[in-house]
Amino acid sequence: MSDLHRQSVTQLAAGLRARRFSSVELVGACLARIEASQAALNAFVTVTGEPALAAAAQADRLLAAGDGGPLTGVPIAHKDLFCTQGVRTSCGSRMLDNFVSPYDATVVAKLKAAGAISLGKTNMDEFAMGSSNETSFYGPVRNPWNPALVPGGSSGGSAAAVAARLVPGATGTDTGGSIRQPAALCGITGMKATYGRVSRHGMVAFASSLDQAGALAPSAADCALLLREMAGFDERDSTSVDTPVPDYVAALEQPLAGLKIGLLREFFDKGLDPAYERCVREALKVYEGLGAKLTEVSLPSLPLSVPVYYVVAPAECSSNLARFDGVRFGHRCENPRDLNDLYRRSRGEGFGAEVKRRVMTGTYVLSAGYYDAYYLKAQRVRALINADFIRAFKEVDVLMGPTTPTPAFALGAKTADPITMYLNDIYTIGANLAGLPAASVPCGFVQDLPVGLQIVGPHFAEARVLTAAHALQRATDWHTRVPRAYA
């Protein structure tokens, strides 16, 4: 067996172009690893082996002719909330277990156009609602570092697949931390773009004002390459922003000296695991060694992120998920007696407990008499949090802190109490509320479990975040570590 799975996206793309190996060979190796790991990890909901091999053969023909794009022949996987034409797009839900999308999401189409080959759809928390991948209709994903632990969520399948090197890169979405948190818990790099940078067209909506796509891969350089191909204005998404996408890959080698790093005081709180904190502080020292300047920054409204998020996100989701009514697509109950019965049973059977909880919460906060007290107030606080970030970025170039309060936790440990589960996103939600680009990069281990350093940049400063992440990865090798079972 080759060691192709140990190579980065960048290396693989170069190797394919140099014809050192074929795409068919590479895709075949990845498919074999996916199959071998599926029982243990459950990272995939759908594997599209045959079309992937056919696409690989086509890619090899292009490469042989000296043609192709930046990712031609490189295998990837898509989180199962990106619509993929002709392929089931389940969103981790029974509701969409039978849903085959008639179209490709813009992200899917762009990566395809760049030459990437999708091997399938990765498991996820149902409708991206969860932080542990335990809410999936297809069962939980397990953490490649320790199968008794969760991989994080909601992009847990993508994170586990990359961590176990089943694929060199995967797409994800991040509404409250759903790329960064599983990236941290699985020891890989995850990057969420600025809100508006990547088209949401074809992403099954959870919370429209917060949802943003991004990439998961071993290294920041890989994320830079994937994100460069995913990003860009899309006229089919009114909230996508028409501003040029810089070449994130070309920007990676820019010198770091003089970079002003703000340490988020609110993130180094009493909820943070001391051993986790030590890893983060070590990484910050590395930055100092590279010539960066560290200062402490306070964002006084930031501690309100979690309550604000759990008003805004459920409100939007309660409306976004209304279209799943058993009428046109998705799950429909057997023999509905009448219209109300059709709605009640189709939705009652199709949605899991966490989705129902959020739909009900959201319906409540938007109701007459409660709207001002909850939704409107949450939006006002959200504006304060945004203002806090903007003020901070007048003083510093990037903000850093831990991605999560603790490393990966055991399956079932937090399922009984939703609030403790929600608090796992306490450090990641702020960037979503403010629409900022943010990454998580591996920065050490606590008892053999990976730790993530979070880097947050100003709006549309993806390049700065990726360059900072890349600098750490040139100085350390945490991102190259692979779980022993998948080495």
Partner: protein, 479 residues
Amino acid sequence: MSAWETVIGLEIHAQLATRSKIFSGSATAYGAPPNAQASLVDLGYPGVLPVLNAAAVRMAVKLGLAIDAQVTAHSVFARKNYFYPDLPKGYQISQYELPIVAKGAIDIVLEDGTVKRVGITRAHLEEDAGKSLHEVLPGVTGIDLNRAGTPLVEIVSEPEMRSAKEAVAYMKKVHTLVRYLGICDGNMQEGSFRCDANVSVRRSGSDKFGTRAEIKNLNSFRFVERAINYEVERQIELLESGGQVVQETRLYDPDKGETRSMRSKEEANDYRYFPDPDLLPVELDAAFIESVRATLPELPDQKAARFSREHGLSAYDAGVLTASRELADYYEAVVAAVPEEPKLAANWVMGELAAALNRDNLEVGSGKLPAARLAGLLQRIVDQTISGKIAKEVFEAMWAQGADADAIIESKGLRQITDRSAIERVIDEVMAKNPGQLAEYRAGKDKLFGFFVGQVMKATDGKANPAQLNELLKKKLGG
């Protein structure tokens, strides 16, 4: 004076005449097979997003400018959430707190000729829902989403109308206006123009509104008038017999001529409006608004004033002739051919032409009788080739045969006799045949003059020039 005062406010839904839908590229044409014009966006598929149609925005701005309203620089789309099978997303995209058009006004002319100003509270953009088809498939309900996503502008009036007739006059005025602006085809049968009427009554002199009922989905002027009158009577009877009006939504049944309860306020949905996060606020700058203003046509009131000024028409005639842009254009084309007789042109357009169109259930723009053809007929009256009376006969033949006036006049030999000697000859014959009447006339029975006119006209098949006949007959009968 009645003991009760009626209070009416209307919410008019006008379908905007855009080629594509408000948030998708699907066509809006009426009458396609079910769901042939429903894209993934219209079907509310997972992952699809709305993209605002700029043409719909321009049309709403046009309306705002035409009713002297404030066109808002910042308006916001909101989601109105409720479940219904013909509402694919489970919410309707509308505008709630910040509509695109704020306060404006429209003038209507009441029966006694006075002008009344009706305030417009707001006008906002929204998408239409689809249709549930209950009768097409046995045992199940079909859903046609062709209409889903069709752009609408909802025009909300102040509760300032005081009778069903005022409400109809207002609705007609809005109907005229949107068609002038070219933003709505005004087709009420196809549902392009319809309204909900909020109706309440109160004791005359009271300054507090009574409890109102909302009558939904009225799609003809006649139904509006009948439904309101029925509802007013119902409410007065209820109150006079010691009952109370409940706030509710009612439906008008045109077959039975009555309104009936649909749902009460307690059963009403809580729509949970909130700003749609998929759409950015609509920001309009002054330059854009001015660019739209530059495209405004001459509006009905301006046109009517000009008709009165330039053609000496009464306010009533000018109002009738400007009720639609097509009619006004037709009239102006006719006048251009007979500029010395604008009143004659007005009488023919509002008289014979309107009657014939009405009889055959045709629109003025149908092309049945082009303006040039009617003008050709009027020219023959003006140059005395035919009399006004003969002209009516010619008109009927033109209408029936689709021919020019001259062709009819020639083929039927209707050319007026203006040859003095020829008329004199006929007069002589008539006098010779009726010696008795002649003697009576000469003895002072002036009324018999008409008898002689009639006899000469009969003998000439009505072709004698009336003015010449009068003159010559007076001379001859006088002896």
